[in-house]
């Protein structure tokens, strides 16, 4: 029997801690080399797209939190922008600024979790504790805004759920200062760390052309040297008013993706700072009777607001016949919502374009012919959330 015939099939997951959830990979090994890898997904499938079809537009919103549970605000934002596009609603400037600020804090949150868990996978355990310590600050802001630490549902159709909390700017300024300073510590721990570099540099390489043919997006695409960022390319929610750089890598390996994400945290802090400094004064919800819920304080004292509130809660609003697609740059990549309306008060079909799902499809290409130990690094560097992969 030749060496090539003696391959070993190894099942990794779905309960493996390094697969970031319930991802299962069936690996075929020749010694320590991966011959083929087949990701098996669907263990966390909860039918979110189907669930949203039977809900009113307002009431489908909480389902979006559960798609990528590490970046709830980004999902809320994508869904709300899509419905607003469908209904033709323009939100007040203040709402745009607040949404940008929250979306960028979400990016910090998501990237910090990624940084902690990815470093943990590669043996740098202390990084996890530091990253989660800083993440608490962002979760505090979530809690102050939406009342919950993870499933916020704070960004609503036509505005926000409540007025921003009184100490919002103080809290955000603290995050900008503290995380900005501590990023230096992370860099000292990892960027020049011999072990970390050896585990990530030249591992899970994908060229720019291949990245495009695999439809990768987000840090996966930018790590390969394609400077595509939807915040710059097709600005939404007032991103055209903010000054920031797009982080781009060169080699397309796991180390470059690490650098890109670290730079993105810095840029996100920069945007959050600008959003706080230039936060306009105004209402926290658009005034579109019959579509956007009136502010709660009006509902209690104004007859008209109460009627609209009752009507929207009980029967929702009818959307025009047609389909819209709205994509945003979520922490993982291009998160798109394709909402098709049949003219009734419930969406006919909601399609979520999941960045993690599409990025994960490139895993076999990243690991085949490489060492078995690099599989963990490759999975980590894609930055998947299984809630989004399976939906």
């Amino acid at each position: 029997m030749t060496v090539a015939e003696r391959t070993l099939t190894l099942n990794m997951g779905p309960q493996h801690p390094s697969t970031h959830g319930v991802l299962r990979v069936v690996l075929e090994l020749d010694g320590e080399t991966v011959v083929s890898a087949r990701p098996v997904i669907g263990y966390l499938h909860t039918g979110i797209e189907k669930t949203m079809e039977s809900k009113l537009y307002h009431k489908a919103l909480p389902a979006t939190d559960r798609i990528d549970y590490l970046a709830p605000m980004s999902n809320n934002l994508g869904y709300c922008l899509a419905v607003e596009k469908l209904m033709g609603i323009e939100v007040p400037e203040k709402v745009k600024w607040a949404r940008v600020c929250l979306a960028e804090l979400t990016r910090v949150n998501s990237h910090l979790v990624w940084l902690g868990t990815h470093a943990l996978d590669l043996g740098a355990m202390s990084m996890l504790l530091y990253a989660f310590r800083e993440r608490e600050l962002v979760l505090d802001v979530y809690e102050a805004c939406g009342g919950q630490r993870m499933m916020t549902s704070y960004i609503r159709i036509g505005g926000l759920a409540h007025e921003l909390p009184g100490d919002f700017d103080k809290k955000v300024r603290k995050i900008v200062k503290v995380v900005g300073e501590r990023l230096h510590d992370y860099e000292r721990l990892l960027t020049k760390n011999e072990i970390f570099i050896n585990r990530t540099r030249g591992v899970a390489v994908i060229s720019a052309e291949e990245a495009l043919s695999f439809s990768l997006s987000g840090p996966m695409l930018r790590g390969s040297g394609v400077g595509h960022d939807l915040r710059k390319a097709n600005p939404y929610s007032g991103y055209e008013h903010f000054d920031f750089d797009v982080a781009v890598g060169t080699n397309g390996d796991a180390y470059d993706r690490y650098l890109v994400r670290l730079k993105e945290i810095r840029q996100s802090l920069r945007i959050a700072q600008q959003a706080i400094d230039g936060m306009p004064i105004g209402p926290y919800r658009a005034h579109v009777p019959g579509v956007v819920l009136p502010p709660k304080e009006d509902v209690l004292y104004k007859m008209e607001s109460m009627i609209f509130h009752f009507k929207i809660i009980t029967e929702g609003f009818k959307a025009p016949f047609g389909a819209v697609y709205q994509a945003i740059e979520s922490p993982k990549g291009e998160l798109g919502f394709y909402i098709s309306s049949d003219g009734t008060n419930k969406p006919h079909r909601v399609r979520v374009r999941p960045p993690s799902f599409i990025n994960l499809a490139s895993l076999p290409r990243l690991v085949e012919g490489r060492l078995f130990a690099d599989v963990v690094c490759a999975i980590g560097s894609i930055d998947i959330v299984l809630g989004e992969v399976d939906r």
């Binding site: 997904i41 669907g42 323009e90 439809s215 394609v226 009777p289 019959g290 697609y325 499809a361 490139s362």
Partner: protein
């Protein structure tokens, strides 16, 4: 309902947005009409988004041509998704609709190629040999909507359990019947209500 300033402002912005991409829109239309006369059944523009309904057999030739066209540079396959129009007006053109979401990185332009397929045995040619990304996207459409992609290397279930019968995103998928059975619902599957 009185006219809202927000609505008019938004309409103005969409107009502006559409004008910005007007030239790209014309280029795509010209490309489709000159290279593939008769392939486009109808066009649709909703909220400044251009969709072209094309004949199912033209999907692969058009995509091949798009991939080799450097001037248009519509080479990024953003998404493939599907819709079920059971019992609604668009069903006349075909019950299922497959949507190819294409994007140009240089022109920042997005447009949609749409294909209408019949209710029984909906089949369209696979584009997975053109974009490796299409492999999983088509598997998902197959699993959730039951559309068959001809020429796909491994058209198998991807999200739902192996023992699940039917395709959950179809509108006639019974919602009251638990499948595979885990808990209380031990009755026979109910009559499908259309």
């Amino acid at each position: 309902m009185r006219a809202d300033p927000g609505l008019t402002r938004h309409a103005g912005r969409l107009c502006e947005f559409r004008n910005k991409f007007k030239c790209m829109e014309d280029k795509v239309r010209e490309f489709l009409n000159s290279s593939f006369p008769g392939a486009v059944i109808r066009e649709d523009n909703f909220r400044a988004q251009q969709s072209f309904y094309i004949r199912p057999e033209m999907v692969v030739p058009i995509c091949e041509e798009l991939l080799s066209n450097d001037a248009l540079d519509l080479k990024y396959l953003s998404d493939i998704t599907s819709l079920d129009w059971l019992g609604l007006q668009p069903e006349k053109a075909g019950r299922f609709e497959v949507v190819y979401n294409l994007y140009s990185l240089t022109h920042k332009y997005r447009f949609f190629l749409k294909v209408c397929l019949p209710g029984d045995n909906p089949t369209v040619a696979s584009v997975s040999h053109l974009w490796p990304a299409a492999e999983w996207l088509e598997r998902e459409v197959f699993d959730m909507m039951g559309i068959i992609f001809d020429g796909h290397p491994d058209l198998s279930k991807i999200l739902t359990p192996d023992e699940l019968e039917g395709h959950p995103l179809r509108k006639d998928f019974p919602l009251t019947w638990e499948q595979p059975q885990f808990s209380w619902n031990k009755d026979q599957p109910p009559e499908v209500v259309k």
